[in-house]
């Protein structure tokens, strides 16, 4: 397995760069490997061994990467905590059974070490131990996902699931020396660490940026691949479009200005990308490939060079099987499942998602065309069933409502059985009610009788991750939005009414 190879064998080439606003630090991968081995030696002296768990709560940094690799070396689990969502306190250490927690935040709890200690440990160690060989079903890391109760769910990822995904990606994209993969999303998201494992295995370069600095460090790094999410590419699209309009220069030139001149492709996933955004980058000469997967399944489908179809999330990758039930709800069977239960979740959560035989019920609605391309139509949870039994898939309606200039985001509810009501974020504040009413009328004109939106509640503030109305993957948190606007949704007099 790749997780065993990358510790057992020193890489033969490639570099890793850590980019911040104020500069870039570059290491040969062979030096990264050497330091990871020494850190493993130092951690072993501190008593860390197979089965122990190390927590990391820090922004992207060399120390983050070294701790992750050293844990792999020792057969220890990691738990990556995103700063801002977790606090480096005693409660965290206890709840997740951490032997040690490394953080770049101020902390005083027992068992919590400053991230800078990593450098001292690397210097202190004089040798690297023999790397542990991971068994396929052992958990290497705990990853966290948004929970329905606000408490994140923790999920252990098996070594074989990581290996299977890395192999599938490599078969599709052939990352190789000369490539430089740009990573800026938090390393606490396991998939972002895949690109470091890939570099160690395949000898290509990888650049790790802080999230805040991503757009500033991109053009300096001149990567060949950018690993992003739809919100990132949407932001880039708006910026490139605005700069092109302002300067009169071609869009392609502005795209190169932002992303650098070596892009081979852009990777997007985690949430649905707007078709217009995908088209924009493809037409600008930066091919962008959308995929599909959940924390619980890892990568299920992916468009890639030579097998890409607009509107789809690509063909199902080897080792995965998509099962559609009579309602079109997607379940995914994996040869090497991520796991068969959550390590941390509310009672009943695991049973709702994990089924025997390596099957995960995603809750998403989909279809597969005759050529094997998967299309995601919405969330099963986002289906409103009306009194007449008709099922309303809300996402296309919300997209239609937000497709014009008046509304930037819409979330649809059916507070009483009699009407559909949208909570909308206007394009600007204070909102222009007449323009929103026009948008409502336009959308309704194109919708079926049962899909008509009766009224729109104007959101008092944008939906953001910070105010809890978006997930960290920038998806609307429907229960929270419903709760925030419960009184308005329930009062038929409230909002802008359809004409």
């Amino acid at each position: 397995m790749i997780v065993n190879r990358i510790t057992a064998n020193a890489p033969t080439g490639g570099r890793i760069s850590f980019a911040r606003l104020d500069g870039t630090e570059t290491l040969e991968l062979v030096e990264l490997h050497r330091r990871a081995g020494r850190l493993a030696g130092a951690l072993a002296e501190l008593g860390i061994g197979p089965g122990d768990r190390i927590g990391i709560l820090a922004a992207n940094s060399p120390q983050w990467v070294l701790l992750d690799l050293a844990a792999l070396w020792l057969g220890a689990e990691t738990a990556g905590f995103e700063p801002g969502k977790f606090e480096p306190d005693q409660q965290l250490v206890s709840r997740y059974g951490l032997r040690l927690l490394f953080t770049d935040r101020p902390a005083e709890a027992a068992g919590v070490l400053p991230l800078a200690e990593v450098d001292r440990l690397v210097e202190k160690a004089d040798s690297a131990p023999e790397p542990v060989v991971w068994e396929p079903d052992r958990v290497t890391t705990v990853k966290f996902t948004s929970g329905s109760t606000g408490e994140p769910k923790g999920l252990g990822a098996t070594a074989a699931s990581i290996d299977s995904s890395l192999r599938a990606v490599q078969d599709m994209f052939h990352h190789r020396p000369g490539d430089d993969l740009f990573v800026f999303l938090p390393l606490s998201l396991l998939q972002q660490r895949y690109w470091i494992y890939s570099a160690l295995r395949h000898g290509h370069d990888v650049t790790v940026s802080t999230y805040e600095a991503a757009f500033a460090t991109l053009r300096r790094a001149r990567p060949t691949v950018v690993m992003g999410v739809p919100a990132f590419f949407e932001t880039a699209r708006r910026h490139i479009g605005a700069r092109a309009a302002r300067s009169g220069k071609p869009v392609g030139e502005q795209a190169v200005q932002l992303f650098g001149d070596r892009i081979r492709y852009l990777w997007t996933g985690s949430a649905p990308a707007a078709p217009a955004t995908l088209r924009f980058f493809n037409e600008a000469g930066l091919p962008i490939f959308e995929g599909y997967g959940l924390n619980e399944t890892c990568i299920v489908a992916k468009n890639h060079p030579g097998a890409s179809r607009e509107g789809s999330v690509g063909r199902v990758v080897p080792g995965k099987e998509v099962l559609l039930d009579a309602d079109g709800v997607i379940s995914v069977r994996s040869d090497h499942p991520v796991n068969d239960h959550y390590a941390y979740a509310a009672p009943g959560d695991s049973e709702k998602v994990f089924r025997p035989g390596g099957i995960v019920r995603t809750g998403d609605l989909g279809l597969i065309d005759q050529d094997g391309y998967l299309y995601i139509l919405g969330r099963a949870d986002d289906v409103i069933v009306l009194e007449n039994g008709k099922k309303i898939v809300v996402r296309p309606i919300e997209e239609r409502l937000a497709s014009g200039p008046a509304i930037t985001e819409a979330v649809l509810f059916c507070p009483r059985q009699t009407e559909l009501v949208a909570v909308v974020r206007p394009a600007h504040y204070p909102p222009d009610e007449a323009v929103i009413a026009d948008a409502l009328a336009d959308a309704n004109a194109a919708l079926g009788k049962d899909e008509r939106i009766a009224r729109a509640i104007v959101a008092r503030e944008p939906f953001t991750v910070e105010n809890g109305l978006l997930t960290s993957q920038f998806k609307p948190r429907r229960p929270q939005i419903r709760a925030a606007y419960a009184a308005d949704l329930a009062n038929p007099q409230e909002g802008i009414h359809a004409r």
Partner: protein, 87 residues
């Protein structure tokens, strides 16, 4: 505020906002995130463009400096040539 930098800041800020706002309408003391929905990614795009236009090196700032630039006035004060050393 440094007049030329302020003009460039206003023009570049509105380019990254999702809501249509005229450059002259931007309140220099309003919180850019709360009032105008400026995300951290957009903030860097805004500052990258502003620094390009004003001939300032963005690399002179750290992520921590950026976090402190919460209003247009603070951005201008940080980026304007006469004050850059003080950041």
């Amino acid at each position: 505020m440094h007049a030329e930098t302020e003009t460039a800041a206003r023009e570049n800020l509105v380019l990254v906002l999702t809501s249509p706002v005229e450059p002259e309408e931007v309140d220099p003391d309003a919180d850019l995130a709360a009032r105008y929905g400026l995300t951290s990614l957009n903030k860097v795009l805004f500052l990258t463009s502003l620094c390009d236009e004003t001939g300032t090196e963005l690399s002179r700032f750290t992520e921590h400096d950026l976090a402190r630039m919460t209003t247009l006035r603070k951005v201008v004060d940080a980026v304007a040539p006469s004050t850059i050393e003080a950041v």
